[in-house]
């Protein structure tokens, strides 16, 4: 029998070594695998290269990983946010390297790695400073830049639900980079709210088939979901809003 579930986040991230390239899903807070990142911090791996759209915000997840000094390089499209103080400080103090990649090239380069594409010609960034050092080619009258795949040792992803075969479904815009990162890493680790029985996911609606997934861990229901229904009263960080009621307040 195939069983990709692991009992806890520590087992899920076990073996991530110093110097590893780690893809981290999420767009802002949506789809960011905060629990896996916390576990990665506990593992203690250093000199990591992080591939992610953002470089973290606030004091949790990716931001905390950077604050703890574990990151050597960030490959991302948009590190600067109103609350990206940990990245900002590390960058200004030259404690980490930044490879800035336009978001579409980032996504397509990750997909290319998963799809076995050697390189591709992208129309994005032609004539801009981010074209520097890139091979240029005119095809059918239009100029393109040659872009190479981005592979990773590990991908850390957050989904809504998965089965023991590693089939994953996501929720709304928290899907974002998860499905492509799952294809581009040697080891793909997915945290989900819930592990469901094999057969519970609609085969027409599986977004990440189990072939791309190595480990699945359940981290429990998020505060804003209950009985498959959205329950309001939280802000974008998932913290209860002022006046959202005593029970929500009690969870913070």
């Amino acid at each position: 029998m195939i069983d990709k579930t692991v009992p806890d986040v520590a087992s899920a991230v076990a073996g991530i070594a110093d110097g590893a390239t780690v893809m981290v899903g999420g767009f802002g807070r949506a789809g960011q695998p905060v629990e896996l990142i916390d576990a990665l911090i506990d593992v203690g791996a250093r000199e990591l290269t992080i591939v992610s759209n953002n470089a973290g915000g606030g004091d949790v997840g990716l931001a905390r990983l950077i604050a703890e000094g574990r990151v050597r390089k960030v490959v991302c499209s948009f590190p600067r946010q109103s609350d990206s103080w940990h990245f900002d400080t590390a960058y200004r103090e030259a404690r980490l390297e930044l490879e800035l990649v336009p978001q579409g090239n980032l996504a397509e380069r990750i997909r290319a790695a998963g799809a076995g594409i050697g390189a591709f010609y992208s129309p994005t960034a032609v004539g801009t400073p981010l074209a520097e050092g890139r091979e240029q080619r005119v095809i059918d009258g239009r100029t393109y830049l040659l872009e190479y795949p981005i592979h990773a040792d590990v991908a850390l992803i957050s989904g809504l639900a998965a089965d023991r075969l590693g089939n994953v479904v996501y929720r709304r815009t928290a899907r974002n980079f998860g499905p492509i990162m799952a294809t581009a890493a040697r080891t793909t680790v997915v945290q989900v709210d819930e592990i469901v029985e094999v057969g519970a996911l609609d085969p027409e609606a599986v977004v990440t088939p189990g072939i791309f997934v190595n480990r699945v861990v359940a981290v429990g229901e998020r505060p804003w979901l209950r009985d498959s229904e959205f329950v309001g009263g939280v802000d974008l960080a998932g913290a209860p809003l002022a006046g959202a009621g005593a029970s929500a307040g009690g969870a913070s």
Partner: protein, 234 residues
């Protein structure tokens, strides 16, 4: 669509917050929204362009794309109904319309770069006469660079409209002969909506499509330092 333009422009300049010679941001968002066709697939960039979503005419059905993986986005939720899994490219909470669809980032940018979006509306630091766009970096040596999806949007949509004040806070024209800031895209902008006027990029020149309030063509020439003509409709 030209009916809508005629109808909207006076309304916008009557706005009680507007200066006599220019539109305020809300009025400008209304003005841009009025030009969006029924059935258009549109991406609204971070910042001011996001406001356009709140002013789409009820008579038309416009499908909003957000590059973080959704078509059929609706503006902000009611208080207490924020869903952290449902955000736009600016990471603000949004809602879902019936008929929406979710997809991953590679599919979302394939949609954009494959030329399937009818329109995207972006902010700008500078737009040149040849339609070059600079909106991601001022090139300041100590700035932390961040580009997001701006470069993909700039080259992807069938039409790229810019929505911006004509002048910077220090009074320089954002419409320029050629951009001095780092470029986002080359020759990609087709129209610019500013607080003073609407400009089309035609054959390497800005053509004034519409003047707002008391603004005159000569004023615009002076403010921009560019050779400007009225758009002749060709």
């Amino acid at each position: 669509m030209s009916d809508q333009q005629t109808a909207t422009a006076p309304r916008a300049s009557d706005d009680r917050h507007a200066q006599p010679d220019r539109l305020d941001r809300t009025a400008l968002a209304k003005r841009v929204a009025a030009d969006i066709s029924n059935g258009a697939y549109v991406n609204l960039g971070i910042g001011a362009p996001t406001l356009v979503a709140d002013h789409l005419p009820p008579s038309s059905e416009v499908i909003l794309h957000t590059e973080n993986g959704m078509l059929g986005m609706d503006p902000a939720p009611a208080e207490g109904e924020v869903d952290p899994d449902l955000i736009n490219a600016g990471k603000q909470p949004v809602t879902e319309l019936p008929g929406a669809a979710y997809f991953h980032h590679a599919d979302s940018f394939a949609m954009m770069r494959g030329g399937h979006l009818d329109l995207c509306i972006l902010g700008a630091f500078q737009v040149s006469e040849s339609g070059d766009l600079a909106n991601w970096s001022t090139g300041a040596p100590d700035a932390i660079p961040a580009v997001g999806g701006a470069m993909d949007l700039a080259i992807g949509a069938k039409d790229v409209y810019v929505m911006t004040d004509l002048l910077t806070k220090t009074g320089e024209s954002k419409l320029v002969a050629s951009c001095t800031y780092p470029l986002t895209g080359v020759g990609c902008v087709t129209r610019v909506y500013t607080d003073r006027a609407v400009f089309d990029v035609v054959g390497g020149r800005f053509r004034v499509r519409e003047l707002f309030g008391s603004t005159t063509l000569d004023e615009l020439r002076e403010l921009t330092g560019l050779e400007l003509e009225m758009f002749d409709g060709a």
